[in-house]
Amino acid sequence: MTTTELSGIGVRGQGRPARVVVASFASCFGCQLQITNIEQHLMDVLGQIDLVYWQLTDSTPMPEEFDIAVIEGAVTTEQAESQLKELRSKAKAIIAIGSCAVTGGVPGMVSRDFYERPSQVYPKVPHACGKMITPRPVSAIVNVDFETRCCPIDPYDFVVMLQRAIYGSNKLATTRTLCSDCKRNETSCFFEDGTLCLGLVTSAGCGARCVNLGRPCLGCAGLSPSANLDSARQCCERYGVDARAFDERLQLFNQTNPAVEDSDR
């Protein structure tokens, strides 16, 4: 499994606040909403930047020049693909936010046999759907400089990533899996009672929020670069969990990951 190469180069140093645009592709808008959910600190965060375009909150049109593009959503149409390339050509740094943008997320679930699917939903596919293409994460099309993972993002994780995009940071993304967080938290393991959990292979960083509330991990942070899928399947079998259920669960947020796509075939 390969890690996305993140540049870590900040955009600061032009004698003015970084100009930021927020753009969105196929998504639930929940990650943009999470940015507004910084609430009492929202104006402090916005005070550090020059927010020049955010369609969700502002009717001002997108300018020609900016420094940072914050991008939510998976790419699912040809139009979106060319818009993304245009954003890349203008932005000095791209921050991909949320599972849809980082791993293809839930929209990526339909990537297998994609072209058979629109007709399962529409009696006649409307013209307004545009030229639909197999859903992919942002990094499958352009280089991404910074990522905020999970579905939805944690607002404060985003603030950290925004800081790094402004000031630069060569901090590497973690390769730990979620299991290491549960060990640290001293929580009991779902596998003990034969319940499937994707903590075995999922990137750590969320603090095991779901597990702490009694729900197994669904893998929304994406596969860890050091995930060992074969070993995880064997582990499932040892605990009486069907390895096919493990593979099926991986499709929820990681269907477009080459390691998962390959195991489908």
Partner: protein, 430 residues
């Protein structure tokens, strides 16, 4: 012949991607199209073949702002298919979760999306300087909605704890008491919000469409009744036979399916205004007084009044949630625990129906004997509203043109009307 076309590309301050275009010939409106270009994520196809207990988590991702509603509605559909009966405590927690999204949604819509139109700003952010009290109050209500969703669902967007049969975790009694205090403290600001929105001048307009809302005797229901009501006709029916009364249809200019009343072909409106028309008598007393003071009484058919209706619902939701929290905090408050009840998996068909913040939401699922989804259909409030919105835009444009409005004014009023409907295009296409 003078032909004009008026287009607003990428309508701002709504959830999702959409354009509107009007074609005008010799001062007469020839056509109106809500061009919904939000990417189709194909959720019905996604759900197909999935084991039922993964489906609420998938359905949640239809919409960030009303994720709680999608989760609860999907769970209701599955429970109906499997014949699962849950405890009163679980019902109460679900109600809180749905109301939490009302507070989030209405506060976001009223202040972040709608208000800038009426104060003449491109966004809410200048308000942080010009009226810091209002700005902080608005964010405060939104934050409280998030806090409620976090306490009950574990997260403000895409709840974690709500599952088929109950909840996997629940906050402590003390937490419920604290929440009740905070909810009560916010009432004054919510009443002020109703007063504020009633002072914003809106065009007089009366929709010709039907109104659809949940009905329950003696209640202002959001997720506790399976009965749907066509308010103007007074027709009531069980949500499980919604297809006999409502139909979806496709339009080439929209990635979202439209909807209409099957018997009459009439478009209809769903959402806060429809609910107020259906259940005005059962609003909490403070909310009813606030509504009356704002001049909002049934029958009210001006879609612009949906903003005031949402503000009234903020008052109503705060009082209701405070009462629910007090009851959940007390030892003998609700029967039973919220721990998931046991159930057997078998084949079945179920319809889940709730009132999401933006209106009626239907999840229709068929399961095979392994509990895998064989077919799914999701009908969202915004999808239902689109046909009525187009009709209302046409009506409004006619009125404005007759009164000699110029193009800029027409454009602004059309945008305001669209935002008054509080459309969520990501929901509508899904």
């Amino acid at each position: 012949m003078a032909r004009t076309s008026l287009t607003v590309e990428h309508i701002a301050r709504i959830e999702g991607h959409g354009n509107v275009s009007l074609s005008i010939e010799d001062g007469a409106v020839k056509s109106v199209e809500m061009n919904i270009v939000e990417p189709a994520r194909l959720f019905e196809s996604m759900a197909r073949g999935r084991v039922f207990d993964d489906v609420p988590a998938i359905a949640s991702r239809i919409c960030g702002i009303c994720s709680s509603s999608h989760v609860v509605t999907d769970i209701l559909a599955i429970e109906s298919a499997l014949g699962v009966t849950v405890t009163d405590r679980t019902h109460a927690l679900r109600e809180l979760l749905v109301y939490g999204s009302y507070l989030q949604n209405h506060a976001t819509h009223l202040f972040v999306f709608a208000a800038p139109d009426y104060v003449g700003e491109p966004s809410i952010f200048p308000l942080s300087q010009t009226d810091p009290d209002l700005f902080q109050g608005a964010l405060g209500i939104k934050a409280l909605g998030n806090e409620l969703c976090c306490a009950v669902g574990g997260r403000s967007v895409h709840p974690i704890t709500a599952v088929v049969g109950g909840f996997t975790a629940e906050p402590k009694a003390r937490r419920f008491s604290e929440l009740a205090d905070k909810l009560e403290q916010s009432l004054a600001f919510a009443c002020k919000t109703v007063d504020l929105f009633r002072t914003f001048p809106v065009p007089s307009l009366a929709t010709d469409g039907e109104m659809l809302a949940q009905f329950q005797p003696g209640a202002y229901p959001v997720c506790t009744s399976p009965v749907m009501e066509l308010v103007r006709d007074g027709v009531r029916f069980d949500a499980s036979c919604y297809q006999d009364y409502l139909e979806e249809y496709s339009q080439p200019h929209s990635a979202a399916l439209f909807a209409r009343v099957r018997a009459t072909g009439l478009p209809f409106m769903t959402g806060a205004l429809a609910r107020i028309n259906a259940s005005w008598d059962n609003l909490t007393q403070t909310a009813r007084v606030a509504a009356a003071k704002a001049g909002l009484r049934p029958p009210e058919h001006n879609p612009f009044m949906n903003n005031v209706a949402q503000a009234v619902e903020l008052v109503d939701a705060l009082e209701r949630c405070a009462a629910l929290c007090r009851c959940l905090a007390s030892a003998d408050g609700f029967e039973g625990s919220s721990a998931p009840v046991p159930y057997k998996v078998h084949a079945g068909h179920g319809v889940g129906y709730t009132e999401a913040p933006r209106g009626a939401l239907i999840h229709d699922l068929t399961l095979d004997d392994q509990g895998r989804v064989t077919s799914a259909s999701i009908t969202t409030p915004t999808g239902m509203n689109l046909a009525n919105l187009e009709a209302d835009i046409e009506l409004l444009a006619r009125q404005l043109l007759a009164a000699g409005a110029d193009e800029d004014d027409l454009r602004l009023q059309v945008e305001k009307l669209i935002r008054a409907y509080d459309p969520c295009l990501s929901c509508s296409v899904h």
